[in-house]
Amino acid sequence: MDEQHHEHHHEHHHEPGFWRKYVFSVDHKVIGIQYSLTSLLFLFFGFSLMMMMRWQLAYPGQPLPWIGRLFGEANMPEGVMVPEFYNQLGAMHGTIMVFLGVVPLAVGGFGNYVLPLQIGAPDMAFPRINMASYWFLFVGGVVMLASFFLPGGAAQSGWTSYSPLANIAPVGQTAWLIGMIFLITSSLLGSINFIVTTVQLRVKGLSFFKLPFFVWAQFVTSFLLLLAFPPLEAAGVLQLMDRVAGTSFFLPSGLVVTGQPLEVSGGGNPLLWQHLFWFLAHPEVYVLILPALGIVAEVIANNTRKPLWGYRTMVYSLIFLGFMSFVVWAHHMFMTGMGTAMSTFFQATTMIISVPSVIILTALAISLWGASIRFTVPMHFALAFIPMFAIGGLTGLPLGLTASDLHLHDTYYVIGHFHYVVAPGTIFALFAGIYYWFPKVTGRMMNEKLGKLHFWLSLIFMNGVFMPMLFIGMAGVSRRLYDQTGYAHGAAVQDLTVLGSWSAWLLAVAQIPFIVNFLMSMRKREKVRSDNPWEATTLEWATPTPPPHGNFLTAPQVYRGPYEYSVPGRTADFWPQHLPEEAESPQPRPATT
């Protein structure tokens, strides 16, 4: 992107098309690709932050080899990380992975590219707002990155930015808040666009219960973003006021910081921040998960060659999940001195919300029964998603019950739990999506061998990173420790931490086949012969490849549900949604030359 900015003054000499076409495009597909590439870069960046943290965790106090000295005397004197820098890396890893990595890829990238295609729309309902939403994200991302260069560094109070710690943190926290306001605005604009598009622009015949599950997932996700993000925006404004205008929304009276009384009026409430934050951040967990479930459902239906089992039940579960996600937030706060009545309420809602998740996972698993499973690369990732997400979900149980949370709260067990949900869970689903839709976007298939190599290595090392965390947490080691070996219970599990660190670095190596595959396949691989190389049924495969601006050559019409595979009496084992009853079945063709 940066190089393109430098070229700005040449703009008038170019064909007027270029800027409109690739940079300030209003085409949902270009915007989807912009979102995807940006968020893939941010994912890699966020991952790199974590790899540096893993060095300090595994070998506390030792200089980071080779690159340690590049980060300056303030951050890494003699190549050894200081705690402030460690905390910056931690806070920014979380922020970047959630708000600039996974959500923009899952919603901004896949949602933008695929949703209008799957509902047969020529574009999103508001193409310009769509463009604005990407550029808000871009600015938010730049602000976040730039904050590393501020005096005192980037935000360092965790991605949760709990007050009062965040109130007294260096100026990087202010940048974080401003960046967040941009990211929130981006999400709000995006979610409005998704909802209107889904409701208004479905083609003829595409009723709500004929929508692909992916569209449903995006639709519910958009409502979560729309209604859960504003309270965080409010909280962000309040914290900004606290930091910039000297108010005390989150500061009670009588605080003494490093021996000096804090010069504020007081009268605020630090728990208010947590409530407003988790009012967003719990639904946000489902924002991370639901699109992933959508992708997995698409890939599984396509590669089992049969309809999804219990499609309607899955949709109802999805909606129920969305609803419930608004009334579980305080289970993040069981240890803040909560009384029994309130904790009972939130434990109960937490147990209830696990039910629809179980139903969706069960439905996906039952879909395998009686299938004819094609073990394609996307299918590998989609299948692995199920047990990985299951581990993530199951480990949520002891955290959702106050009595077991007494021991596990704020330990590595929590880190292991939610990383199982989002890393081998959501990120695997996102990989499945990349391998699955790559031929639609580029017109070329990705390499199967490299893809499988990428899958197996990632699966092994993902577990190598996160499985030890569950044990470290069980041993009672607190999260966000710069060096756990000072504690006896931390030293006892240091070997597991070293194992996790090496797994993380090897996980990075495991991404090399993916990066090579991704870049090579864009140019070198042979083109797909058919517009529908996976022999899928949903509408995105009914467009030319790659789809032109405006998508469909003629507006399609939908005649049946989204997953009509292996319908008895038809010669082909897939029956696309847009083919009229009397039309000839498409002949199965090899995917590539």
């Binding site: 409005i192 309270p231 409010a234 404004v237 009026s265 208010l272």
Partner: protein, 200 residues
């Protein structure tokens, strides 16, 4: 790719939902705004309930000025809806008058607000003074930003944007309707802010 793609129901209402895209979009936006101000109101309640003493708004703030501002904003809402109605009745001149009045009234609101703020600052009263003023300045400030946003939108629609009336009158009327919905919401927020901050 430079050619604009025609989006269905950008102007005409959808046969099932009965809405054109923009109107649905603006309502969703307002829904998110409800949650934004809701969170702030909730904050207000929480801080007030938790405080040992909480001043009465009327003993610290200028109620007559705020009452005046309430009238001004309500009036601007009426002119806004009249602007839309004028377009519906094909009376562009009356539309201009009404929308112009809306913008003017919005400016009056801001000027009165500026006097209120100025008086406070003169007495060295700032958001940092206490929690009451913190919430007062934050809520009215955020509301003021919404007023400024409304002025910008309405000014655009009044001046350069109104050229659309000649080419696509229906689309232009839709735009005014959406701008109106937003403006009424800004009014509605004030209707709650006024008693909560000034009268209680």
């Amino acid at each position: 790719m430079s050619a604009e793609v025609e989006i269905p129901y950008a102007v005409k209402p959808h046969p099932v939902t009965g809405l054109f895209n923009g109107k649905f979009g603006i309502w969703l936006f307002l829904a998110s705004e409800v949650m934004l101000f809701g969170a702030l109101f909730s904050t207000y309640v929480l801080l007030r309930v938790g405080a040992e003493v909480w001043p009465h708004g009327y003993s610290l703030l200028n109620v007559p000025l705020a009452t005046l501002n309430t009238f001004v904003l309500i009036l601007s809402s009426v002119t806004m809806v009249m602007a839309w109605a004028s377009l519906k009745m094909d009376d562009f001149r009356k539309f201009r008058l009404n929308l112009g009045a809306t913008v003017l009234l919005a400016f009056v609101f801001l000027i009165v607000k500026a006097f209120e703020y100025g008086a406070k600052f003169e007495h060295h009263i700032h958001p940092a003074t206490n929690t009451f003023y913190a919430i007062y300045f934050t809520l009215t400030g955020l509301h003021g930003l919404h007023v400024i946003g409304g002025i910008l939108v309405n000014l655009y629609l009044l001046l350069p944007g109104s050229a659309m009336w000649r080419t696509e009158p229906e689309r232009f009327t839709n735009r005014i309707e959406c701008a109106g919905l937003y403006w009424h919401f800004v009014d509605l927020v004030w209707i709650f802010l006024f008693p909560v901050l000034y009268l209680l």
